[in-house]
């Protein structure tokens, strides 16, 4: 078994979904849906089967330096610019491919039922497979150039899948918005890559990071510039301030897409990027602070917005932005493995929540307004219980959920590491309160109270199995890393230790830690209780808040995502559109077309002299000769 596992090449993992894409793209439209489903989900399933195999081989026979590198072929070789198409497996990649293939497979399985009636069935799976292939390439890339290929590839798939139902122009608009906004970040990232190559002379991640640590002083201008540019790329991809505006609109895509791309995997690529290039960030304290502050600000802003949304998917979208804010907070305080830990647990419970939301949505015949749902607890019991578990994990209900362990770790480090501060901790704690409030608001509104919608169909096994599996993971997924008070399991951080430096707490002893944990747990419970009070016991309280003048204004403000869309529309989109409209008339073409017009006019004048009369020609020759002689004589 072991020998077989180690004989499996690494490239199989991204190649299987890629092969699925090729088959589906070429002949998918002619295949029966059953076959398209088998190929689409099966290719990712095989990939998910190879992954534990590769993991067991990696863990039992750790390669030198903790990295297993497979150079497939030379991609570009020009002078000193040598880019190999090479994959690298280390602990960080291992966690990522585990998340991508495993969650990805569950979502594919779910999609075979969710998308069963869609005419674009095989197209959907082709895009999804392509996405998984690119995502795996992103996390397995050995050099930044290949990483960038995967980075852009997932962006492309995101665009294709948001605009999957392209009949509605609104969906196309959302897809374009996502593509253009992330492009802003990608440009910054491309510049960062160029800077790294110019100075380090290599794009190999390991070499470049070692070079940077050896050659750049802490706080040196170049290191800060590169870190900030990389941060720009991460911010765009992970929908953080100030580029978070695309994610809520990206919910226009099918729900499994939201679960896979816009919750579990692609949007966390920014977190992965920063963790991957942490060596540069550690050289740039300013950038670290920026990461932490962006994370804290984003989690608060998005948490507030999530409180007032009425579309179930938009609630989850803002919640995703908010949770990635936590990961950024973790990265910003140097708690690298804690951030990746939260990335993993988040991908479980957020995928679960999206899939649960999708189950609710199709049960109610594509109803997404939470106020038209309600009382679904008895109608959809499995969905209810799994959704409840997911929400609990999202709200970080103490002890029993995976989200608690990961979020608690981040909050603790945001207080205790050298980059941390009580302010960051306070922001995270307020965010935890908001999270508890909005996640249970969702649960109570959708599953409790009076039944408003009519359940048209009950989800089948292929929807329920992924829900149950993810629910189990959302509970036990946190047990790989527990705080000192609760068994002190450190499997996860031990695994990541060779790749990511462990976070050092500057606070001695465990008293503070225990105290802070208790505070956060209490605040979370208060949040859950308030949600219960507001949305089950006393619905009049939030109604009164909403109808008060100030409350109404705040509500509208938060609903629109703090007015960022309007702001960007005013200062960026509209001036650009106006400029484009102006340039459509080609004012600059006027210069060259005037030249053309003058030439044409000159032609029509001069062509009159071609009248076929010999005397005219002779006269012309004579005039020319006289002019020539005149010049000779009088100069």
């Amino acid at each position: 078994m072991d020998g077989f596992c180690c004989s499996l090449p690494l490239w199989l993992i991204p190649a299987l979904p890629a092969a699925g894409f090729v088959v589906l793209a070429l002949v998918g439209a002619r295949l029966p849906k059953r076959w398209a489903a088998v190929i689409g989900a099966g290719s990712v399933g095989l990939s998910a089967a190879v992954t534990p195999c590769a993991a067991s081989c990696y863990l039992r026979h750790p390669p030198d330096g903790g990295v297993r590198i497979e150079r497939l072929w030379t991609w570009i070789d020009v002078g000193t610019f040598d880019i190999g198409f090479s994959l690298a497996l280390d602990a960080l990649s291992l966690v990522m491919i585990f998340v991508v293939t495993f969650v990805g497979f569950l979502i594919h399985l779910y999609s075979t039922e969710y998308m069963a009636d869609d005419p674009g069935f095989s197209r959907f799976f082709a895009y999804m497979n392509l996405f998984v292939a690119f995502m795996l390439m992103l996390v397995l890339a050995d050099n930044l150039f290949l990483l960038y290929l995967g980075w852009e590839g997932v962006g492309l798939c995101s665009y294709l899948l948001i605009g999957f139902w392209y009949d509605d122009p609104e969906n196309g608009r959302a897809a374009r918005k996502a593509f253009v906004v992330t492009r802003v970040g990608d440009t910054a990232m491309a510049i960062a890559l160029l800077l790294i190559f110019k100075h380090a002379g290599t794009l190999d991640i390991g070499q470049a990071m070692t070079w940077a640590s050896d050659n750049w002083a802490v706080g040196s201008g170049l290191a800060v510039a590169v870190a900030f540019l990389l941060l720009g790329g991460a911010v765009g991809k992970s929908a953080q301030l100030p580029l978070q505006v695309w994610l809520p609109d990206a919910m226009a895509g099918p729900t499994p897409v939201s679960a896979l791309i816009h919750a579990a995997t692609m949007v966390t690529a920014g977190v992965y990027l920063i963790a991957r290039t942490h060596a540069v960030f550690m050289l740039a304290p300013a950038a670290m602070t920026a990461v932490a502050v962006i994370g804290a600000a984003t989690l608060l802003l998005a948490g507030c917005s999530a409180l007032v949304q009425t579309d179930i998917k938009r609630v989850l979208a803002y919640s995703t932005i908010s949770q990635i804010g936590y990961m950024f907070l973790g990265l910003g305080v140097g708690a690298w493995s804690a951030a990746i830990f939260h990335l993993m647990t988040h991908s479980f419970f957020k995928a679960l929540l999206f899939l649960g939301a999708g189950a609710v949505i199709i049960s109610l015949h594509h109803e997404q307004d939470i106020f038209k749902m309600g009382g679904l607890r008895d109608r959809l019991p499995t969905v209810f219980w799994t959704f409840l578990i997911g929400s609990a994990s999202l709200a970080a209900l103490p002890l029993v959920t995976a989200g608690f362990y990961s979020k608690d770790l981040i909050l603790w480090y945001s207080w205790s590491t050298e980059y941390g501060s009580p302010w960051l901790w306070a922001a995270g704690t307020v965010g935890a309160f908001l999270t508890a409030l909005y996640s249970f608001r969702l649960v109570f509104i959708v599953f409790f109270g009076d039944e408003k919608g009519h359940v048209e169909r009950h989800p089948g096994l292929r929807i329920l199995i992924p829900l149950v599996v993810l629910a189990v993971l959302s509970v036990i997924g946190g047990l790989v890393e527990t705080p000192a008070m609760l068994g002190h399991v450190t499997l996860f951080s031990d695994l990541l230790d060779p790749v990511l430096p462990p976070a050092e707490s500057t606070v001695p002893g465990h008293q503070t830690e225990h105290l802070l944990q208790a505070v956060v747990a209490a605040i979370t419970l208060v949040g859950v209780f308030l949600a219960f009070l507001f949305y089950v016991r006393r619905p009049s309280i939030p109604a009164a808040l909403r109808s008060s003048p100030l409350g109404a204004r705040v509500c509208r403000f938060w609903l629109s995502g703090w007015g960022f869309d309007t702001l960007y529309d005013r200062i960026l989109v509209r001036p650009f559109v106006d400029l484009a409209r102006l340039l459509r008339l080609d004012p600059f073409d006027g210069i060259s077309s005037t030249l053309g017009r003058v030439t044409a006019a000159g032609n029509s004048v001069l062509s009159r002299t071609q009248d076929g009369r010999i005397r005219t020609y002779v006269f012309g020759i004579g005039v020319g000769a006289v002019i020539a002689v005149t010049i000779v004589v009088f100069t």
């Binding site: 006269f619 004579g622 005039v623 000769a625 006289v626 002689v629 005149t630 004589v633």
Partner: protein
């Protein structure tokens, strides 16, 4: 000799001027012959006897005779020539006259500016011309013979079809 030069020069200019203003082709041709002969006289007077002889034989003899043949073939009698010639309208004269006058003035300016030097005493006879022609200018002679051949072929080709085809429309 000086007198002869100036006299024949004036005759040459006058005859040429009259030639181009005649309506009758025969008259014009005769004046051209006079002009050419006068030029030949000036050649003699400055010692270029060979050139003068050629002037008489080739120009006045061969070329003008060719013209006369053509005029006879086309039957351009006194009445035919210049039928549509707007010879007398001032607007037709004005531009060319101005142009020609400018040219004349300019040429005169060039010549008057130059320092005055007389012609040399030595007459250049046929011997020197022949030596020079078939010495350094041998290539030029060959080229001239090609030109004549081309003219011959061209004239033969164009002339042969002139009557039979009645144009090539």
């Amino acid at each position: 000799m000086t007198v002869i030069f100036y006299l024949s020069s004036v005759i040459a200019l006058l005859a040429a001027a009259i030639a181009i203003s005649r309506r009758n082709a025969f008259h014009a041709l005769l004046y051209v012959v006079v002009s050419l002969l006068a030029v030949a006289v000036t050649f003699f007077s400055i010692g270029a006897a060979f050139a003068g002889a050629l002037e008489i034989i080739v120009y006045a003899g061969a070329i003008i005779v060719l013209f006369i043949f053509v005029v006879m073939m086309l039957n351009l009698g006194p009445q035919a020539a210049g039928r549509a010639d707007g010879l007398l309208t001032p607007s037709m004269w004005f531009g060319p006259a101005l142009l020609a006058l400018t040219l004349l003035v300019e040429l005169s300016v060039i010549l008057i500016r130059a320092t005055g030097t007389g012609t040399s005493d030595t007459a250049v006879g046929p011997r020197e011309v022949a030596l020079s022609l078939f010495g350094p200018y041998a290539i030029g002679v060959e080229l001239a013979s090609f030109l004549l051949l081309a003219g011959l072929v061209g004239a033969a080709r164009l002339g042969s079809g002139a009557r039979s085809t009645g144009g090539d429309r």
